[in-house]
């Protein structure tokens, strides 16, 4: 089910009301069944795939906990990994790998018939498989005890606010809140409602209206674009994907909050980041912390922390620098591939790995600079580098991406405009609005809340009037959320 729709709003209202009136056991069943229904509204035939992943890890975790030897625990964990990664491999990567095999074979003069199957990617598979893997691994590491109540566990895996596009949650973040329902509070209602409105606004007013400009720009022949156009499209898509994805997270957090359940934040003004490390502590925080705890740190051989605040930290002294570097690049290549079955996503990941590597290399020298310069200089460098990475993410092919990057190196490619004037205006205005939004959120709003509550109340009312009017006008499921394709 898609969030920006009347169906979802009606569904959410029903679920929230039932959540607060039903007793404990019935409530859990209601959450579980409504989450499956939520998923089935997309395609009911893929519900068994999701349940297969959930059921596998439910039983594997119990067996791991009951095992007496480390060897058996490891084998059982491998079963979980095999099933979950196997599902991903089939649904998401089979055609990609097959086409690469055909291409390589063709280069070697061997003709192989390509696979012509139509494999539909199950919605949210990249998210719920990571979630169930994290559950099994946490049990394996002894961080949590396995859950013996399948309905409770099923609620955790399938909980509809975060099922399709995250945040990627750990069991210990959700299960205790499902077990012990918090008391109904107006605070949760107000906060949840605000987050949902905010998310819908970002999605239907901003992201969906930016999409045609981005589509138009990336559909144009690269030869017709100027270097300025490449910069503009990088920033514009960077804004589109930020509004789109953070919108989903806001709605997810808001919907959960209406039920008194608090999710960790998934975005924290990423375009105010002053370094790549800072960026990855602000962008898709749940995924970057997952990657760190379940992929990067194990690859470095470093001890895994049982809490993570997101982002990739420098390795501990106990780990060799070369191993850290290898782990960095491998992790990011995998992170890129997780986003999509295309070499452009792998290159996107490697791009960020290079950025992080370079940052680590120069940090010892920049640490001595004044704080102001570190902060502003870091931001002025980080923002354009991050935005340019989105070219790989959005372009149709490696060739198109490289051609666009190449434009940036040609001085003669700068002084003309290849796109409609509105494209530049929209990019500039929204970038400005994003930065103003950050300043308002971090400075003005806290001040108003503390020192001028009546003024804050009035200002909020005006803002909500405009937001609700625009959401009312623009609410329609015209565009999927970008992260649905992952």
């Amino acid at each position: 089910m898609i969030f920006n729709s009347v169906t979802f709003l009606v569904f959410l209202l029903l679920v929230v009301v039932l959540y607060w009136v039903l007793p404990q056991r019935a409530r859990l069943w209601m959450v579980f069944l409504s989450s499956i229904t939520f998923y089935g509204f997309w395609r009911v035939e893929f519900v068994p795939v999701m349940l297969a992943s959930a059921i596998t890890d439910f039983y594997v975790a119990q067996k791991i906990d009951a095992s007496s030897t480390q060897r058996r625990k490891t084998r059982l964990l491998l079963v979980s990994l095999f099933v979950n990664l196997g599902l991903l491999a089939y649904f998401k990567y089979l055609l990609f790998f097959a086409s690469n095999v055909v291409s390589v074979a063709a280069m070697l003069g061997v003709e192989i018939d390509p696979i012509t199957w139509n494999i539909i990617l199950p919605l949210g598979i990249s998210f719920y498989t990571f979630q169930t893997i994290s559950y099994s691994v946490d049990v394996y590491r002894g961080f949590i005890k396995p859950e013996h109540d399948f309905v409770l566990y099923g609620c955790y895996v399938t909980f509809f606010p975060q099922l399709v596009a995250g945040p990627v949650l750990r069991a210990r973040e959700v299960i205790p809140q499902l077990v012990q329902r918090s008391a109904f509070s107006l605070d949760n209602l107000a906060i949840g409602g605000r987050r949902i409105l905010y998310g819908l606004f970002l999605k239907v007013v901003f992201a969906d209206n930016i999409a045609p400009f981005v589509d138009d720009g990336f559909a144009a022949p690269v030869a017709a674009l100027s270097a300025l156009d490449v910069w503009t499209l990088a920033f514009l898509f960077g804004l589109q994907i930020y509004f789109d994805f953070s919108a989903y997270s806001h709605i997810a957090l808001g919907a959960a909050r209406l039920m008194g359940i608090t999710f960790p934040e998934n975005f924290n003004f990423p375009y105010s980041a002053t370094s790549p490390r800072d960026f990855w502590k602000r962008w898709h925080i749940s995924l970057s912390s997952w990657i760190r705890d379940y992929l990067y740190l194990p690859l470095t051989g470093a001890q895994v922390h049982d809490r993570s605040t997101g982002g990739l930290a420098t390795a501990t002294r106990a780990v060799a620098a070369s191993k850290t570097t290898q782990a960095l690049f491998l992790t990011w290549a995998i992170m890129g591939l997780w986003h999509g079955a295309n070499w452009t996503f792998v290159l996107w990941g490697v791009y960020h790995a290079v950025f992080i590597y370079a940052y680590r290399a120069i940090t010892p020298y920049t640490k001595t600079l004044p704080q102001l310069i570190q902060r502003w200089g870091g931001w002025l460098l980080t923002l354009p580098i991050v935005m340019l990475s989105w070219i790989f993410f959005r372009a149709d092919s490696v060739e198109a991406s490289l051609a666009m990057y190449h434009k940036l190196l040609i001085p003669d490619a700068y002084p003309f405009f290849g796109l409609s004037s509105n494209t530049y205006i929209v990019a500039a205005l929204l970038m400005f609005a994003t930065l103003v939004g950050y300043v308002l959120h971090s400075r003005l709003i806290p001040w108003l809340q503390q020192k001028a509550r009546p003024l804050y109340f009035c200002a909020e009312t005006v803002v909500f009037t405009v937001a609700i009017a625009l959401v009312f006008i623009f609410l329609r499921p015209i565009q999927q959320f970008i992260y649905f394709q992952f």
Partner: protein, 405 residues
């Protein structure tokens, strides 16, 4: 907490949301009364009306395949077939062909004049025009009509402004129902996009035509269970709540207001020079080339003319870009054996209209596209003279095999 404290706490926490929502809905309700004109006619200019010529019950001039308030192309094609004439002249264009400025009783656009003149020579005339029609749309329509009618001559205006447009609008996708037309346009990237868009709008089992064409608003739900519930809920809401049914109109007005605000802030008016959009220009010139190539292949003469533009004031184009455009069009005409004509100064300044202000609180501005009945007469007479003098009707046959009965 006592009751008073609870109420205060509730007001503070939920007040902005509830108040904001109430005020928003009240404002939208009050805006219901001032519903604006249809988006298409917004661009026509002050005192300019749409006129789609008919001859009795016979439609001579049509707009698109789906819009409910304007003549559908299917009607025009059927009308042309019913004449049983072996030779049809196809005239494609933009709103200059159907926009008549300050019409008086009995005045018409160029189409009836040219129709009469051609009929006297034993040829029929079929005219299709859309606001800001671009060459990609012209090429697709040329291919679509060629499959249906014996085309003797293609008359095609070249409008620099319209090279800024891109893609084939939804209302014309019906022209892609023929697989030969699909194959023809699919040779280009923009054509493939159009075919994909067309296929996506095709009626599914049990769906009405209206539902199929409304589906673009629910594109993200295609082939999901939610598509059905969303459609049902939307239909119910549209029937029960006027505000909900008026949302497309509100969106149009919002975009128009943004457009006016943009122009006001940036000092843009109808006379402001607008640069070519390279990517769109290239795709449109590619479409023009394809149209001329296909016409030559099928032995259909083409009369390609630079469209009249208001020339007594400074043009809203950069001179070098406009000059390059005219050169490019002429070069393509020469390359593919089309007959080229420059009519940009044909219509004198006093026959042109004015357009509505394009800024908030602004005054009427020059309309560079739409003129009065006398200008239309001039256009028809000039084109006919050119056709006659160069014997354009005598070249080629272009009979469609489908027409043979």
């Amino acid at each position: 907490m006592n009751l008073r404290q609870t109420i205060i706490a509730t007001c503070i926490k939920l007040g902005p949301l509830v108040l904001g929502g109430s005020v928003a809905l009240a404002l939208l309700s009050s805006a219901l009364e001032g519903e604006g004109q249809a988006a298409d006619t917004l661009g026509l200019g002050l005192g300019t009306v749409e006129r789609f010529a008919t001859q009795g019950d016979t439609a001579l001039h049509c707009k698109d395949f789906t819009t409910s308030w304007s003549p559908k192309i299917g009607r025009c094609i059927a009308a042309a077939k019913s004449t049983k004439l072996d030779d049809i002249v196809l005239w494609l264009g933009n709103s200059q062909l159907h926009g008549l400025n300050q019409p008086e009783e009995g005045e018409t656009t160029a189409i009836p004049h040219l129709y009469k003149a051609l009929k006297a020579k034993g040829s029929g005339l079929l005219t299709l025009s859309q606001p800001n029609a671009n060459f990609q749309e012209h090429y697709m329509l040329f291919e679509a009509v060629r499959q249906e009618l014996p085309m003797q001559l293609l008359v095609l205006p070249a409008v620099f402004d319209d090279t800024r447009e891109d893609g084939i609008r939804n209302e014309l996708l019906g022209g892609l129902h023929n697989s030969d037309v699909q194959n023809a346009v699919s040779q280009t990237s923009w054509g493939r996009e159009a075919v994909a868009a067309y296929l996506a709008t095709q009626r599914k089992e049990g769906e009405t035509t209206q539902e199929a064409s409304d589906r673009s608003d629910m594109a993200a739900l295609d082939e999901t269970v939610q598509e059905h519930t969303e459609r049902a809920l939307n239909t119910w809401l549209e029937e029960q709540v006027d505000l909900w049914a008026m949302r497309p109109s509100f969106r149009g007005r919002f975009y128009h207001t943004l457009y006016l605000a943009r122009n006001t802030l940036l000092g843009i008016s109808a006379s402001t020079k607008r640069p070519a959009i390279r990517a769109h220009y290239q795709r449109n010139m590619e479409a023009l080339q394809r149209a001329l190539q296909e016409a030559a292949t099928h032995d259909i003469p083409v009369l390609l003319y630079i469209a009249p533009i208001r020339s007594d004031v400074e043009l809203p184009y950069y001179p070098n870009e406009y000059a390059q455009f005219k050169e490019d069009v002429e070069a393509l005409a020469i390359e593919h054996g089309a007959h080229f004509l420059n009519l940009e100064t044909l219509v004198p300044g006093d026959l042109w209209g004015m357009t509505a202000p394009t800024r908030l609180g602004g005054s009427p501005e020059y309309d560079f596209m739409h003129f009065r009945a006398e200008g239309h007469r001039l256009l028809a007479d000039t084109l006919f003279a050119e056709i006659e003098n160069h014997r354009l009707l005598a070249r080629g046959v272009g009979a469609s095999p489908m027409y043979a009965e």
